[in-house]
C-alpha cells in the first residue's frame, strides 16, 4: 500500500491541492459564495418532476449501492432538492437504498424535504425502502419497484456498478424519464444508453453544489477547478520535460528535467 508520506514530493503535491481547496472553501464561507456554470442535465430534473406530477405516478430515487460514502451523500443532497420540488407538487417519492445506514439518513432527508415544502403529511416512511445490500438482489428489488409502482421518473445517482444497466433498462421500459449521475466511469456508458440525461463524473458533484447553493460545496468545486488547473500545468510541464529529456544531451538541464518528472514517480 502506498502512502503519500512514502514520497515527500507526492505528499507535498497532495497537501498543496488540499490547501487550494480548503482556501476556496473558507473564502466562500466568509465572503460571497462563488458561482459555477449551470449544467445542462439539471434542467431535466424539473422536467422529470413536472411530468411525474402530470402523470400522477411516483418518483424513484436510488443513491447507488456504495453504502454511506461521499457519492451517496452527494446524491442525498440532490434528492433533498428534488424531494422539495416533488412535495410542492404533492407527489410521492420512493427512496430505495442498499445500505442499512442510509435508511435513517435518507428518511431524514426526504422528511425534511416534505416538511420544508410545507407538506409534512405527505411523507410516508414506508416509501424509504431498504431492499438488500447484495448487488443483484438489490437490482431485482429496484426493478420490481419500478415495474409495480410504474414510476414516472427515476433518479439514479451515486456509486453504481454492474446493476446500473438492469435498473435503468427496466426504468426505460416503463417509460420513466431517467436522470443518472455516477462517479463510476465504467457505468456511464450504460446510463448514457438508457437514461434521458446523464451527469458525467464531476458534474455530479457540481450539480449537488449548484442545487444546494451551499457555500462549502461551491467553494470546494471552485477549489477543485483550481486544483485541476494546477494538474493541467504540471502535465504540460511534465510533457515538455519528457521532450527535453529525450532531446537534450546529458547535463544540468537534462538532470533538472528528469528530477522534475521523478517528483511524481511513485
Amino acid at each position: 500500500m502506498e502512502h503519500a508520506s512514502d514520497h515527500w514530493s507526492i505528499g507535498i503535491f497532495v497537501a498543496v491541492l488540499s490547501i487550494i481547496i480548503l482556501y476556496k472553501i473558507v473564502t466562500a464561507q466568509r465572503g460571497k459564495p462563488p458561482t459555477i456554470r449551470r449544467i445542462a442535465g439539471l434542467n431535466a430534473i424539473d422536467e422529470a418532476v413536472g411530468r411525474a406530477t402530470e402523470m400522477g405516478r411516483p418518483i424513484l430515487m436510488v443513491p447507488g449501492i456504495g453504502g454511506l460514502d461521499i457519492p451517496a451523500l452527494q446524491a442525498l443532497n440532490i434528492f433533498g432538492y428534488i424531494g422539495r420540488s416533488v412535495a410542492r407538487f404533492g407527489n410521492r417519492t420512493i427512496l430505495a437504498v442498499a445500505d442499512p445506514q442510509l435508511v435513517g439518513v435518507g428518511e431524514e432527508v426526504i422528511r425534511d424535504a416534505y416538511t420544508s415544502a410545507g407538506r409534512p403529511e405527505l411523507f410516508n416512511a414506508e416509501d424509504v425502502r431498504f431492499l438488500s445490500d447484495r448487488q443483484f438482489a438489490f437490482a431485482s428489488g429496484v426493478a420490481g419497484v419500478i415495474e409495480r409502482e410504474k414510476v414516472a421518473a427515476s433518479f439514479l445517482m451515486g456509486a453504481f456498478f454492474a446493476e446500473s444497466l438492469i435498473i435503468a433498462e427496466v426504468g426505460q421500459r416503463v417509460g420513466a424519464i431517467q436522470v443518472a449521475a455516477t462517479n463510476q466511469f465504467t457505468q456511464l456508458p450504460f446510463f448514457i444508453a438508457t437514461c434521458d440525461y446523464v451527469l458525467l463524473g464531476d458534474e455530479f458533484y457540481a450539480a449537488s453544489a449548484y442545487l444546494s447553493k451551499n457555500p462549502t460545496l461551491l467553494g470546494s468545486i471552485v477549489g477543485q477547478d483550481y486544483a485541476k488547473l494546477l494538474i493541467l500545468i504540471v502535465v504540460i510541464l511534465g510533457t515538455l520535460s519528457a521532450c527535453g529529456v529525450l532531446m537534450l544531451p546529458a547535463g544540468h538541464v537534462h538532470d533538472l528535467l528528469q528530477r522534475f518528472m521523478d517528483l511524481f514517480k511513485s
Binding site: 503519500a4 454511506l68 431492499l131 428489488g141 463524473g201
Partner: protein, 219 residues
Amino acid sequence: MSADYLHHLLLPKLLLGAIGTIAILSLVFRENKLYRLFEHVFLGLATGYGLATTWTQVLRPKWWDPMVGGGEWIWILAAPLGLMFYGVYTKKFAWMARLIFGLYFGLAAGTVFQGFAEEYVPQIRASFKPLIAHGAVTAAMAVNNWIFVIILICVLVYFFFAFEQNSAVIKRSASAGRVMLMIAFGAIFGSTIMIREALLIDRIRFLLIEWLQLGHIFR
C-alpha cells in the same frame, strides 16, 4: 423420458436453480407473479446471506474471536460505538448517531488523501509523454502521444465549472472533450456488453446443459 432423467430434472437444487433463473429472466417479457415471488425470495435470501457473512467474515474473526478467544478485551469498546449507529431511530439518542456518523465521515475523508496519492498521482506521472519522434520514440508513438495529450487537455477543460465557457477556444476544447468522452464510453459499452453476454450464456448453459442435459444437441 427415462426415470433417471426425470429424477435428475426434479433434483431440488437444480430444479430451484432453474425455476429461479427462469423467474428472474421472465422480467424481460413483463412483470409477473412468478418474478415477484422469486424477487422476494432473492431479497430474503440475500439479506439472510448478508447477515450470516457479516458474522462469519467480519464480526467473528475480527471482533469476537480476538476478544473471547484471544483475550483482547479492548475490542469490547467497539460494541457501544457500533450500537451508536442505531441512535438514528430514536429522537432521544439521535445525537449519538450524529457523533458516530461524524467520526465515520472523518475517517472516510482521511482515506481519500491516500486514495488520491495511490490512484491519481501515477496517472499524472504516466501522462508525461514525449511529443517528438527522437531516439526510442518513433513517429507513430509521437503521434499517439499528441493525441493523448490533446484529449487529456480537452477533457480536463470540459470539467471546469468555475469558469464560464465563453471563449471560442475553451468552448471548442470542451465540446471536443465531450466527444472524446463519448467515444471512450462507446468502447467501454461494447466490451462490457460482451462480459454481460458471458453471464447470460452461463445461465442459459445451466438451463440447457446442466439441468435439461441437452448438451449433445450443441456438440
